[in-house]
Symmetry: C2
Subunit: 327 residues, 2 copies
């Protein structure tokens, strides 16, 4: 089948494309053709099948129509302005995260007017659709109460996905991803950056700063688990979703202390010694409002599978990013 | 203060304008100037203060900017394509109910860039933001699960209102109105039409058709109560709302049987005899998915007041629409 990946140059997008090519199949069908799009043209991996790449600004009302000209059977929509940037640049966040998503849905609907067309659309939402006051464990059916513009835009995307699916224009699945750890690459200024940093830097022989207390609890998935969610969503029998098209993905609820103990088990005391505790009240206050854990029975019953332990999450990082070697 | 009413030609809009002129004050301040807008120019009531009227298509991106040129202190946004029409004409519903609301919010935000501006915006949402499966009593914090395009558009409006308020662009209050009874005027084809029809027609000496069983339970407010909610929202201290800017309005949970008994008490057996029971399985199925009752503690604690009884709702109709006389 033909597959379109929007946001293919990002961390999760690149890993998803690699996994699609590696497996050669998704949702029980052969991967026959790929169209990869992002704000900068993604690199086309070498593969024995046609791969087109596009530099696309999804906020351009015409852009989505061009991307679906070949009528892909399966579309992954991963493109987004991240939380911090959507908060700093209000207009840009709405332009990409809301208008971009709506343009894509509209392009699909309009394509269906000339000849029947109802692709599977996998949309990445976020646990940022939930904001305090929150229970310690957030149930599957909990109000969308975003406290950021990014979370608002994702919540609106979920509502649009449900309505366009209900009307039969698209076959949508929204998946709310946990915070991804260990995120590869350089440290960034995201308030959540330390969750990855306190593992990634020590594993590469570098110092890392921990700005919060060890008791801080949050909700995690590895990049491998995230790709697994996307692939599973692509093949899901959506009859099981009913009208509620978006699902909180299963994750691992863990404290910063749990992270550190896993690091100690996998990489030893020397790695743990590279973490320096420098309390930052601003970050501590932001993180205090974040979800700590979810019950995700719906997703589990539909076959989505979480990481089993933080040790496993760390080992994945060592295998996938460090060539199996600890620095 | 200057007040803008968008949707001023509709049933609730006209009653709101009359109430504003009658009281001369709202939210503790004098009503100094009115701007009335609707898709057709509203009639300007005779009054001792400046009243401007506009025929405005809110889906035109420039329209909202023109309406707020005089920087109104208080804006009522009541304009909407109703549920049945938004379902029948997908594009029109999104154009007015989603784009129109967003254009208004954007016009307010952009006006604030040149000089500080943060008007109170009262937005009428709907209990259509909730869809089955629903509990018998829907609590204040319940997920937005609309099952119509209209409900989706209202839910998105609530999310936008909350984000624009959080960012300090507007001081928003969203109020989810119950089903309004007794709706004056001619019978219409709305699935909910009979809730008013079985009272309105007999009170005017006409026959009415009841398409469902007497046990059907739903959530109601009189036009007077609806206007009361709008006026109270205009003067509300929004500090009490926190980030959750939209509120389910208090209502009266009543069965069709309760309605009929109230009609008997107020207008006698002769009126009740004018109701003909003609079961309609299509309407029965639609109505079966609707909310039956809510707990509305948040709104009540904030001072919103529901009708006390169905007898009262019927008496309001007789006073306000029939000149005090039963047909």
């Amino acid at each position: 089948m033909k597959i379109l990946v929007i946001g293919a140059a990002g961390m999760v997008g690149r890993k998803l494309v690699a996994a699609l090519l590696d497996a050669g199949r998704v949702g029980g069908r052969d991967v026959a053709e790929l169209v990869l799009a992002d704000i900068i043209a993604p690199e086309a991996p070498k593969a024995g099948l046609p791969i087109a790449t596009h530099a696309t600004d999804l906020s351009d009302p015409q852009a989505a129509g061009k991307l679906i000209e070949g009528r892909p059977d399966l579309i992954f929509h991963l493109a987004a302005i991240v939380s911090g940037e959507a908060e700093a640049d209000f207009e840009k966040g709405y332009r990409i995260n809301l208008d971009g998503t709506r343009h894509l849905l509209e392009a699909i609907r309009l394509a269906g007017l000339s000849a029947p067309y109802m692709p599977r659309l996998v949309f990445t939402s976020s646990i940022a659709v939930f904001g305090e006051p929150l229970p310690a464990e957030i149930p599957d059916a909990f109000p969308l109460t975003p406290l950021t513009s990014y979370g608002t835009q994702k919540a609106i995307g979920e509502l649009l996905l449900a309505d366009y699916s209900r009307r039969g224009f698209v076959d949508g699945v929204g998946i709310r991803l946990p915070t991804i750890v260990v995120r590869p690459g350089k440290p960034n200024k995201a308030a959540s950056g330390f969750f990855s940093g306190i593992l990634r830097e020590p594993l590469s022989g570098l110092e890392a700063v921990l700005p919060v207390e060890a008791s801080v609890r949050h909700w995690f998935a590895s990049p491998r688990a995230a790709v697994g969610f996307l692939l599973h969503a692509a093949g899901l029998d959506t009859a099981g979703l009913g009208q509620r098209r978006s699902l909180t993905m299963p994750g691992l609820a863990a404290t910063v202390g749990d992270e550190i103990e896993a690091l100690r088990r996998v990489a030893g005391e020397k790695a743990v010694q590279r973490i320096r505790h420098e309390p930052d009240p601003v970050i501590a206050r932001i993180v205090a409002g974040w979800p700590q854990a979810f019950t995700t029975r719906r997703a589990e019953e539909l076959g989505f599978v979480a990481d089993r332990s933080f040790d496993e999450i760390i080992r994945y990082h060592i295998e996938d990013e460090l060539g199996g070697r600890i620095g």
